[in-house]
Symmetry: C2
Subunit: 651 residues, 2 copies
């Protein structure tokens, strides 16, 4: 495998805003290119009005009763008063009428039944007050009048709009034809998602293609329809052929996926240049830098990077805004809130950087916990609550400074979430699952910084609770000493979540015959550690001390991972021979587990939140039998005391 010598370098990097302005400018002649079509009203949900939609009839179509009662001519009641009640002859001066029925000829008011005295025997009703004209009457056209514009073009048709059109007699509204988008995945190693075997996946000989799935869903939600073309290998002629065919097929846009980085197999730029024009290749934003914008005849072309998080920028900034513009639609974007990151976020000046974050509203202030920044971390797309942007002019953002964050979920959902920052345990994810079922309004969002990091976050008011399993070597008790040290001024409550077993995870069958902490110094053995401040690290260091082992004797002691699962993955992949972690993680990846002993995993909750309805919901969940049962079923847990308050710390 050798790199070509003529690697194409990016054209000058354009800031996102400039690139989008250029994109819209160069496509200006195509702005009104989407034709309208008529659809039956029943099929119009989610479609977009293509022209001003006017009422074809007036509603109501007649003067009708707005209440049950009698219809009268108001002028004939003017002399009625409490002192001089007036008799009205039924079916002559007064007519029984139901809500919604048309007023009889000659009447212009309705008197409600409660204000009548009924003398059925005499064939009359008696009123004690005059009616004024048009009282309790829904007048013709009160709702809408024929020819009035009821929907502007670009309106996305929802339930209310369907009702308005039905009332207006618009049975075949004109909506925009759905813009058609071709998705062209390229890459010799890329294969359709469902054709890649586990072996091919593990060896990397084939890479499953799933960006098209994400793109298609985004396009559908923006009112378009996507067609994924067959995957094209890294062959400039094949890419050109596919582009030419798409240009002939009247698509409204094509996305060429991958092949647009400056890597050694980037043929997209050459292909687009050969057939049309490239407006820009390279945007000053991370992730998303390798995006290409161009056009072949009447076909706009977006070269989207291969990594899903990078590709998302190409979608959000260029593909979706263009599709919305074609339909005169406003692109739906989350609100922006001010939030402060929990740790400093360094960034390279000259490039805007976008960091996905989890958010929590803690003590009236939004706190942001950054998710992994890798362009390939697709789970960061689904886990994120918001996107924090670090401007190109900046070298990064300090912890605790409020910066704008664009929300990816309704603000209310974020306000109703509990933010747990601290040690990770699978039981935390289960709490969220149970919350959603038992208290759908609430959720638990968690960020993993280890036990000590969690207590520091709590002390700084950056989170609602922390998972912690910090052993005090002197007392053998968990968490109490660390809480007293780190949360000196802040009363809090220690709630037991579970007992869990810690031990060494080793390859299936334990081929190296690892039996305990003493084996870690063996020369044939490579260890993988947890980060400083994690409870597991504290436990390891305690055990090493007991055994009189110096960390420098252990190969891999410096190699740190942030979660149990990451340690398990390192052992599974062969990167390390063993690491310390909980039984559940070993079980999860089919590793053998050498127990070291039980430990206590607790939740630390500031006392001030113990009456917060979100915490009450959490306490309800962890006290439930269903939850205990689910934790037990993961293996390696003890739940005898789950949900109990172990200790109250008064600061």
């Amino acid at each position: 495998m050798e790199a070509k010598s003529n690697r194409s370098m990016y054209m000058k990097l354009l800031p996102v805003e400039d690139a989008r302005a250029l994109w819209f400018e160069r496509l200006h002649d195509l702005r009104q290119s989407l034709p309208p079509e008529s659809v039956p009203l029943k099929k119009a949900l989610g479609r977009t009005a293509a022209e001003p939609i006017a009422a074809l009839r007036s509603s109501p179509a007649f003067h009708g009763a707005a209440m049950d009662g009698i219809a009268v001519r108001a002028e004939a009641t003017f002399q009625a008063s409490p002192r001089r009640p007036l008799e009205l002859a039924i079916d002559k001066d007064a007519f029984w009428i139901n809500t919604g029925s048309p007023l009889p000829e000659g009447t212009n008011a309705v008197i409600i039944v409660e204000k009548l005295e009924r003398r059925e025997d005499k064939g009359v009703v008696v009123i004690s007050n005059a009616a004024f004209p048009w009282q309790n009457v829904r007048k013709l056209g009160e709702d809408m009048v024929a020819t009035e514009i009821i929907l502007s073009p670009g309106t996305v048709i929802g339930p209310a709009e369907m009702g308005a059109m039905a009332a207006a007699g618009v049975m075949y509204p004109k909506v925009y034809k759905k813009p058609r988008v071709a998705i062209l995945p390229t890459g010799s190693e890329i294969a359709p998602l469902d054709t890649v075997s586990e072996t091919e996946l593990a060896s990397g000989t084939k890479i499953p293609e799933f960006n098209s799935l994400i793109f298609s869903a985004q396009i559908e939600l923006a009112g378009g329809e996507a067609e994924t073309l067959p995957i094209v290998p890294d062959d400039p002629n094949r890419i050109m052929e596919a582009l030419e065919a798409a240009a002939r097929a009247n698509f409204d846009l094509i996305i060429v996926n991958a092949g647009s980085s400056a890597g050694n197999r980037d043929y997209t730029e050459d292909a687009v240049l050969a057939l049309g024009e490239v407006f820009c290749h390279g945007i000053a934003v991370m992730p998303g830098k390798p995006t290409l914008l161009g056009r072949i005849d009447r076909l706009p072309v977006v070269g989207a990077p291969g990594y899903p998080v990078s590709a998302n920028v190409a979608m959000q900034e260029f593909v979706l805004p263009w599709l919305c513009s074609l339909q005169s639609r406003t692109m739906e974007q989350g609100a922006t809130v001010m939030a402060s990151p929990c740790n400093p976020l360094p960034s390279k000046p000259g490039m805007e950087e976008r960091v996905r974050v989890k958010l929590g509203l803690v003590n009236g202030r939004f706190r942001a916990v950054p998710l992994p920044r890798g362009a390939g971390v697709v789970s960061s797309l689904s886990r994120a609550d918001g996107i924090l942007s670090i401007p190109a002019s900046s070298e990064g953002i300090d912890a605790g400074v409020d910066v704008p964050v664009r929300l990816l979920r309704p603000r209310r959902q974020i306000e109703d979430a509990l933010l747990a920052v601290g040690s990770h345990d699978n039981a935390l994810d289960l709490i969220d699952s149970f919350l959603r079922r038992r208290h759908p309004r609430f959720r638990l969002t968690s960020a993993h910084v280890g036990s000590l990091g969690g207590l520091i976050s709590l002390a700084a008011g950056q989170s609602h609770l922390a998972g912690s399993h910090l052993l005090d070597e002197e007392t053998g008790l968990y968490n109490r000493k660390a809480i007293a040290e780190k949360l000196a001024e802040s009363p809090c409550v220690l709630v037991h979540l579970a007992q869990r077993e810690q031990g060494f995870m080793v390859k299936p069958g334990n081929p190296l015959d690892i039996r305990g902490v003493e084996d870690l110094t063996r020369e044939d053995l490579r260890f993988v550690n947890r980060q400083r401040g994690s409870g597991t690290r504290v436990l390891l260091d305690y055990q090493l001390k007991l055994a009189g082992i110096n960390p420098s004797q252990i190969a891999g002691y410096q190699d740190e991972e942030f979660t149990h699962m990451a340690v398990a993955a390192a052992v599974l992949s062969g990167r390390a021979d063993t690491g310390l972690g909980i039984r559940a993680s070993a079980n999860a990846l089919g590793l053998t587990f050498i127990p070291l002993g039980p430990e206590e995993y607790d939740l630390v909750i500031p006392s001030q939140y113990m009456h917060d309805e979100r915490i009450l919901a959490l306490m309800d969940v962890i006290s439930s039998t269903d939850f205990r049962r689910a934790v037990d079923s993961m293996g390696g847990y003890g739940t005898e005391q789950t949900g109990q308050i172990l200790w109250e710390f008064n600061g």
Copy 2:
């Protein structure tokens, strides 16, 4: 038509919150009744995860290159330094590698191509810096580790969630079966929407049924699927039969529409009582009062009022929350902002009242203009930007007082809208249509209070602009004098929108031979007027004065309407013989128009907004040829000066 004597009266009215608590409490045993089903990943968009969805594989599935370059064993590079560069033999110590490819056996770091010196002739590359382990490497499981929970139950599957599941190898996610809802329209006069002729519509002999269309769309958006049953007439036995059949058909909920008011043909309560139980009939909220909640065996029953705005409360407060709860979904609700109504909103104490409003962000403060409160005004559902709630404890809300308003659109959309309060003209609706096409971010929302009301609103800082056509009797000029009077301290700009023709609208063919203002005093003739403060009223009063006519001589002078179209509708329906209005309105309803003369219709815009990007977009629209052409085509307009600034008032 006669009322039955045994009118059922409402049971004790429950506040909305209490009614919903009761509803959820009585349905508690059904909460987990929705079974899961597996769907192919490609069909999962918009579905709701039914259980915690765990990763079936780790991603990445191997250690791979995160950049293009060479893969090396980091430990073998430790001695490299700028002073002592190190040669690495290609395909022995260093391996060319592309982004995404798996690391060759024995390597654990990638050095990017830009940091290499290439000596292809010697078969080596030269490095001047050590690589550290795992640099530029995407580690196995970095994104997700097998068994990790990637989605909690209740998560609505969007594009990002589809990507996460694809990466996790979840090809058949378990989602909730869609809850099935039966809609049972009742009422002898009700007929399917597309079967009602214009004659039946105009005579009220048949009422088109379209609530089921609105309900179905709402149910679909909440993840359910609706089935509309055949319409059942007002016959207690037929309603019971339909309910029994639905209870047997395993629906998850039934909505009985109409027949639930306390009117004389309300059989729903009796039918539900005969087959099951009624939890509550009558909610202390307007509109929405006649809502009924009950249950037949395992079938929850909602009796929704017949009027669409009332029915909407039954949907939003009971049907949709229950459907969301069945799916562990959070019900999406708009944000709440503080907004102040432009006019006082009186309300009956003891009942919560919900008023739909248009909103504008004027000078940093949200202003609310109430829409018509009628329960039958279906257009108020689609026109509303938000819902203002007047608490049961209150007698109403004063103008200018900030109260909470729940948004029905994204906040951003409202912030980007121009709020026009003043005289109405169809050309205003056209401005909105053109804005959406040319500047999709912006919109124009308008409320109609007449010219003078508009200037007063502007002076109070309640709107961004006002349409106005106020004639000064002395100078013959429009708007200038009124502006100087009403906007004494506020500089503003007068922008011409159009010349338009005012005249008398009369029945087609002018059967009463109306020729001018002198005819209005005729005894055989009934007039319909515009409200005080409207430009049309000023014009009429001016003409009456010129002709020496006293308003008391005119039958119907006191009968006021708020828009040209409403006056036209009154003439069309026969409620009046003539009224003053613009030609476009007469044309719209096919009335004959007797011209009185041209008048000037202008926009009044405070100078401070003239550089606001929304106003710039509006100016761009009204200066365009397309816009003029569209106004001309309505008939009765002159557009020679459209878009010109006529006058600047410096306060």
